[in-house]
């Protein structure tokens, strides 16, 4: 049983890890914290639900991930309350000089790439500003591609609530980003 389930779990985690990392990064705005969260979520899934059928893993994994993000946010709130005098960590990569971070516009498609990157930054910034439940619904349903039923399992709510949260999320995002974002 161990070999079979180990291979299945590895396959699932391999497929889910990158997206889980980017989702956690949006909430934490820290790659290292996001990596820690994803690592903990993987271990938690294996220990608590490793014996469940593989088709149950996607919503379970995302539920675990969201819970770990919330735990991180609570710790940050407490930490900021007690250590408010500490400067907020700059999440930008300051190891690179500004000119090194700028794209080389002489490269073909660099302008297109720059526009794509800017669109992504705006989308991620808008996602951070969404209420938690709307962000969860959008992340799971649109980004991850879970079905409404799987999303409801991951969020611990009804299918109807998922649709409501998603509709509001999409409306909020389109309002923040504007029509030009979709061009």
């Amino acid at each position: 049983m161990a070999d079979g389930s180990g291979a299945r779990l590895n396959s699932f985690l391999l497929q889910a890890q990158a997206r889980a990392l980017r989702v956690a990064e949006i909430s934490t705005r820290s790659r290292d914290d996001a990596l820690d969260i994803v690592q903990d979520a993987m271990l938690h899934l294996a220990r608590a639900y490793g014996d469940r059928p593989a088709e149950e893993w996607p919503p379970l994994f995302h539920r675990i991930l969201e819970n770990k993000v919330r735990d991180w946010q609570r710790r940050q709130t407490v930490r900021n309350r007690f250590f408010f005098w500490r400067q907020e960590r700059d999440e930008d990569d300051e190891s690179q000089a500004p000119e090194e971070r700028a794209p080389d516009l002489a490269i073909p498609d660099a302008t297109e790439r720059l526009m794509q990157d800017e669109a992504m930054l705006r989308l991620k910034a808008a996602l951070v500003e969404l209420p938690t439940r709307q962000r969860e619904a959008f992340t799971l349903r649109i980004w991850e591609g879970l079905s409404t039923e799987q999303t409801a399992t991951a969020m611990g709510c009804s299918d109807g609530s998922v649709k409501t949260h998603l509709a509001r999320a999409l409306s909020n995002l389109r309002g923040k980003l504007g029509d030009s974002w979709s061009l």
């Binding site: 889910a16 890890q17 990158a18 690592q39 220990r47 608590a48 649109i142 980004w143 591609g145 999409l170």
Partner: protein
């Protein structure tokens, strides 16, 4: 996990195009660099090895559980120790048993002495119960 091509069809038409574009752009950012890939690979290995190990009880649970067990034993033992028998009887020591116990106690840890005290009390209690009542 493959995403069905029509999973966005249940969305209103006004949201469908936006959702599809957002999905495309978000998924384009999922490439991992070397550090991320290495850390996640290590995490996957730890998760898979955890499949063979049962979930551990959290350490914080051991303290209260042990304390509860000790309290239960104390409640069971204490009332008998508080009552003074009318005719306390000195329990004769079996020298052979004592020798065996001393041999076993050479390398025994604290648990051995704790258990020894309990079983000595139990033996004493049983012998007391077998004695006739003073005013029977």
């Amino acid at each position: 996990m493959t995403t069905p091509a029509t999973d966005l069809d249940e969305l209103p038409a006004s949201d469908r195009a936006f959702a599809a574009l957002a999905r495309q752009r978000l998924r384009a950012t999922e490439g991992l660099d070397y550090v991320e890939a290495a850390r996640l690979a290590a995490a996957r290995r730890r998760a898979i090895s955890a499949l063979d190990r049962p979930a551990r009880r959290p350490a914080w649970l051991l303290g209260p559980a042990t304390a509860a067990l000790a309290l239960a034993l104390l409640i069971a033992v204490l009332p008998s120790r508080l009552t003074v028998p009318a005719n306390p009887v000195a329990v004769p020591v079996n020298q052979n048993e004592l020798a065996a116990l001393e041999w076993a106690a050479d390398e025994a840890g604290p648990d051995f002495y704790r258990d020894l005290e309990f079983y000595q009390w139990l033996e004493q209690h049983r012998k007391l119960e077998r004695l006739p009542e003073p005013n029977a």
